[in-house]
């Protein structure tokens, strides 16, 4: 199967993730969408690695996962604390600062 399809899929996923970030309101969901984007990148990396016949891409994918995990740690910490103080996970409620 033509590896290019994987790339299409990757970009599709990436786009879905981006669209999600733009559309959804709940911070957690937003964050999940970001994760989706990262994974799309992973898919792309792996595909390219396969096409180029070297393993850099695959290794990068591992790093990405680690980074994503770290982001989860930090992100959830922040989001949870915000949720506790506001009793809402909606990003749009957090708009004290504007103009």
């Amino acid at each position: 199967m033509n590896p290019v399809y994987y790339l299409y899929l990757a970009s599709l996923l990436f786009t879905i993730g981006a669209a999600g970030v733009l559309i959804r309101r709940n911070a957690i969901v937003l964050f999940m969408c970001v994760e989706l984007m990262l994974n799309a990148c992973n898919l792309a990396f792996v595909t390219f690695a396969r096409m180029h016949g070297n393993l850099d891409g695959q290794i990068i994918a591992f790093f990405t996962m680690v980074v994503a995990a770290a982001e989860v740690v930090v992100g959830l910490a922040i989001i949870v604390s915000v949720f506790r103080s506001r009793h809402s996970a909606s990003v749009d409620d957090a708009s004290l600062m504007k103009l």
Binding site: V91, D92, L96, L99
Partner: protein
């Protein structure tokens, strides 16, 4: 000998410096210092005169070069003096009359607490006037020219607490400035034409310059002369200038400063000779002013204003003569000198009258004063005879010659000018007789009438109190005032005869101004008789109007012309409407423009940035997701642009 020229000027200048910087401690001695220094410069003048007489007619020109004033590239102006017959004449007139008037003022200004400063100003005037006539280049002349303007400004407005005086002073300075503009432009033209503006080179090379340039220079000089000598159309200031103390009117606005214009034109004869058109304009201006002044003089009830009108008219004669070229220059100067004597005398007489009449100036409130102030009466009377040109007195000789020269201009011009001059002589006789009659003859109209609104409160505010006295007690003035009047009276009687005796004056001035004997179409004798006839008519009419019938205390409404003449023939009204009002509107609108437009543009841009900023910050709406949208859009554009760059 020439080293004496600088001291001539230095003496009064020193006086001015000392008196003005000296402060109150000089108050008591101030007037003496001033008078002595004025006298000193007169003495020096006489010495120089003697020296000149000692020389041959041709080398009667002295030069003194002090230092170079403004040396810039090819532009060099020096502080240097030139004393020749022409300037000598003026020196004697200025210092002589000046000294007399200093003496007169000692008595006249006695009650004025600021007498010291008055003398300081007088000395300043003398210095400036001497500089004017002694300068050897036009720029230095310009310095003196504006100097006398300044002195006149200070003296007219000497009683600054009177708004009328302050305004009159300002007006005089401004109108003169307009004239000065002419002089400065003339100097620039000389610089561009001759590369210099010293008398010698300019007048010497005048022949080489194109007539157009010469005409331009001549007209500009004429403009200057008009301003200084109160010639139409710049005459309006002279009447108001009478706000100043009477000695000032006598010295500056009758005898010396106002004649500077005549000096300028005569001095620049070489230029005018090369520019007939300019000369034509000069004579026209002279003729018009001659009549203008005379008519105004007829209508005024204020004795000083009446005399001012006459001054205008007489200077009109001089300008006319000066415009006639070589046939007129000499007589212009001659009339100038004689006029200096009798007009100064007349003014001092008027001052003395006012002194006796609680500073009342309205002639309708005089009458029958001859028995109360005999000396004044006699001196004034002699001055009167002189000015109307009574045969044998100075005025007769000088004026007769001018009329003759006017006829000698030739052609219709000659007839017109001569006619105008004759008419002027008649009117002169009329208004001067009027003054004479209203003041010294008739019944005593001041009886039982309080003299309100003193025109000239010598020592304010004390004088203002004096002015409100119920009824004036006419009395003769102190010696310090009468003596100068007597001296001047002598001058006005004999000067003319002296000058014309064997054409001494003509021969004296000829080397400088040049002289050509004019040949009038009718014989000189005929001209003389015509003059006398005109004189008789004028006197007769005046006697019929003011001598035979009693003079009403309140002025009758009078004819249209009379009313116009009372208002200086509506000149001021014209100025007011056109210049003052118009100027006010212009400046006010410009202030508005400056604030709204010029400033507004800048403030507008600033404001527009503010508005833009206000709109842009709305984008920062605080919603993380909208920020994300912006980023996403930005990225999209970024990618699109990058691809596009490659595509094209």
């Amino acid at each position: 000998m020439e080293n004496l020229i600088a001291p001539l000027i230095a003496a009064p200048l020193l006086g001015a410096a000392v008196l003005l910087c000296g402060g109150r401690r000089l108050d008591r001695a101030g007037h003496w210092i001033g008078t002595v220094l004025a006298g000193a410069s007169f003495v020096i003048g006489v010495l120089l005169f003697a020296d000149l007489l000692g020389r041959g007619a041709e080398d009667r020109t002295l030069h003194q070069h002090l230092f170079s004033w403004i040396p810039v590239g090819s532009f060099r102006a020096d502080i240097a003096f030139q004393l020749d017959q022409l300037s000598m004449t003026f020196v004697l007139l200025i210092t002589g009359v000046g000294t007399l008037i200093h003496i007169y003022s000692i008595g006249y200004m006695e009650h004025d607490e600021r007498r010291r400063r008055f003398f300081g100003y007088l000395n300043l005037f003398l210095a400036a006037m001497l500089l004017l006539v002694l300068a050897d280049n036009y720029l230095l002349l310009y310095m003196g020219w504006e100097g006398v303007g300044l002195a006149s400004y200070l003296l007219i407005g000497f009683w600054q607490h009177k708004p009328s005086a302050a305004t009159a002073a300002k007006k005089a300075f401004l109108v003169n400035r307009v004239g000065d503009l002419g002089l400065s432009i003339a100097i620039m033209l000389m610089f561009t034409t001759f590369g210099t503006f010293a008398f010698g080179p300019v007048l010497g090379a005048a022949g080489d310059a194109s007539e157009g340039k010469l005409t331009a220079i001549g007209l500009m000089l004429l403009l200057a002369a008009c301003g200084k000598s109160a010639q139409v159309p710049l005459q309006s200031w002279l009447g108001d200038a009478m706000e100043g103390p009477t000695p000032v009117s006598a010295l500056i606005h009758a005898a010396t400063m106002v004649t500077a214009g005549v000096y300028l034109i005569t001095r620049s004869g070489a230029i005018f000779n090369g520019a007939p058109d300019a000369q034509l304009v000069v004579v026209v201006v002279g003729a018009v002013t001659l009549l203008f002044g005379a008519i105004v003089g007829c209508a005024k009830d204020d004795i000083k204003k009446a005399l001012a009108g006459s001054t205008m008219s007489q200077i009109g004669y001089m300008i006319l003569a000066a415009g006639l070229g070589p046939i007129g220059y000499v007589f212009a100067i001659m009339h100038l000198v004689t006029h200096g004597f009798f007009k100064a005398g007349l003014f001092l007489g008027a001052g003395s009258v006012m002194h006796g009449m609680n500073d009342e100036v309205d002639m309708r409130k005089y009458g029958g004063l001859r028995k109360y102030m005999p000396v004044t009466f006699v001196t004034f009377g002699l001055g009167y005879l002189a000015i109307i040109g009574f045969p044998g007195l100075s005025g007769f000789f000088s004026k007769d010659k001018i009329i003759e020269a006017a006829f000698a201009k030739g052609g219709t011009e000659g007839w017109i000018l001569g006619g105008v001059a004759l008419l002027g002589a008649a009117i002169t006789a009329f208004y001067m007789t009027r003054v004479m009659l209203m003041t010294f003859f008739g019944e005593e109209r001041w009886r039982g009438r309080e003299t309100a609104s003193p025109a000239e409160p010598s020592a304010e505010p004390a004088a203002e109190e004096r002015g409100r006295h119920a009824e004036p007690h006419p009395h003769e003035s102190p010696k310090s005032m009468t003596i100068p009047m007597v001296v001047l009276a002598f001058g006005s009687v004999f000067a003319g005869g002296l000058f014309s005796f064997g054409d001494s004056f003509v021969r004296w001035l000829e080397p400088v101004t040049g002289y050509a004997h004019g040949h009038p179409p009718i014989s000189a004798a005929a001209v003389t008789t015509a003059t006398v006839v005109a004189l008789v008519i004028g006197v007769a009419v005046a006697w019929l109007m003011y001598g035979r019938v009693p003079v009403p205390v309140t002025a009758p409404r009078g004819s249209l012309l009379t009313r116009a003449a009372r208002r200086d023939l509506l000149q001021d009204d014209f100025n007011h409407v056109v210049l003052v009002r118009g100027g006010e509107h212009l400046t006010r609108s410009l202030v508005y423009v400056d604030h709204t437009l010029v400033d507004g543009v800048v403030n507008g841009t600033a404001a527009s940035f503010g508005g833009l900023s206000g709109r842009l910050r709305k984008l920062q709406n605080g919603y993380a997701r909208s920020y994300a949208v912006t980023m996403f859009g930005g990225t999209a554009v970024l990618i699109a642009a990058t691809l596009l760059m490659r595509a094209v």
